[in-house]
Amino acid sequence: MTETAFCFKIAGDEVVGIIHTPDRPTTDTGLLIIVGGPQYRIGAHRQYVHLARHCAAAGIPVMRFDYRGIGDSTGHYPGFQQVTPDIHAAIDEFLNRCPAIRTVAVWGLCEGASACLLGTQEHQAVSRLILVNPWVRSDSGEARAYVKHYYLARLKQPQFWNKLFSGKLDLGQAIRGFLSNLVRMFRPAPPLSGTPLQKPKTSATEKTTEDFSARMCEGLARFSGRVLLIQSERDLVAREFDDLIRRSPSWRTLFKTRKIDRVDIAETDHTFSSEKWRQAAAETTSRWILSE
């Protein structure tokens, strides 16, 4: 495997890209790893570096890069709902630098997965999407996921009842938390204010349009390539997406009517923060790309 570092331009800003070229390519599909939220191209605990090297070792050419305003780049991070120009510029750069690549698979975690369906998929070279713990957060959805997957799960645990009867549980606090989440479940979303932020926007600070998950659904419906969904077992973001594809008629219909491959990775948290989980996600990715 050879690794190459280079600069390229996105809308006048300078960003860094890294390409991992396999010694013996086994596919003409390249893998573009896009980052989730305002991380830079290495990812939390270097997971994108590990993922890229694993896939390149399996014969898949891989590219990683920084969005504008992230990592080593100049400019301002546009926020995950507006990174399509960044991702399309990266796809073009990838194709230019690796003429043997005919199509591109895009791998996105969290907001990166959301970005995959908010414009990324419209580039004609994109043949596959790998959506990992897609971010569809709304306040009510988060509260619902919490009530369903945290509180209800707690009631099934012997430790919870042991704690309750031994007096170690702050019952008042537990009930208050539960009630406040119940209230949030049914509260309407706040209206969107259109003021652009000057610092990097993040999932926590970026104002999302209430319909961004609906736009993701439309984006997925318009995409004719193959799709893999990877979900972490111990992740509220993943649970919230699961709830959405069960509850929302449009998502439900979409998942019923078209083939979407799905792999759940047991025990893992949101970012696969252990070698065995990271490896499982990488293995899942390379195998799926190489499958016809």
Binding site: P38, R41, T202
Partner: protein, 291 residues
Amino acid sequence: MQPFFFNSTAGQLFGNYFPATDDCEAKGDILFFPPFAEELNRSRHMISRQARAFNRLGYGVLLVDLFGTGDSAGSYAESSWEIWIQDMKTACDWLVNQKSRPIAFWALRSGALLAADLVQRYPQLACHLLLWAPVSQGKAFIAQFLRIKIAADLAETTTGTKDGDETENAPLGTRDMLALLHQGHTLEIAGYHLPPALALPLLEMSLTSFALPPETRIDWFDVSPSHTAGISPAARRAIEGWHKQGLDATAHSVKDVQFWALQEPEWAKNLIEETSKVMMEMTDLSEVASC
């Protein structure tokens, strides 16, 4: 910027050179010493922004990822303090080969210990240290890193995501983990491997115990979001220690966000201003002809 890969002792390293933007004669180069683990991922936007601020003052900046970190080859599990020292020496050699001279070492957090250790071993390399929120005691720093694992284990048991009986799966304490390191075991913490070859040397390190040449100048930048923080006790102790050794050391207290610890990236503009000001004064001191 000019990103590139170059060879070091254990494998290929990633470097990114930010050339001076000034049209006047280059004033020399600044070499950056990176922080540890997730602190690098969380700080990169600030590091490159400061690099560009130095560029505007006429300084080139070289950012290097240590072996097993960032975009460089290898993994944390395969790293060691000695490899990292050699990596930074290789980075200095690269600058010298470019007909440049490193005039300052700029470090964030635990990078300060790496910079001081390198200067102790090769006193001729640089005589100015710019230290951003430096780690002064390796032992406290490692203990803090181990606490991430303790907190994660605790969260797993209290939220019940860990199966089985709590008493049987009691999370490891700091002492247990230190014992494992001393027995030669590598620990996995928040997705990073911490091998004994990194942890054990760090445990013994104290920033002021490195022997620095008498002409060394040190600028220590304390960063705190509170108005009244002033100079931290750690900084005061370190500065006093260096003064006793006859070194020119100054502490700067900056009111700003501790970006290396934040989940969501924020800009620490005051820190960049304050750091740039110090380098501007250096330029005045050395009476470099202005353009």
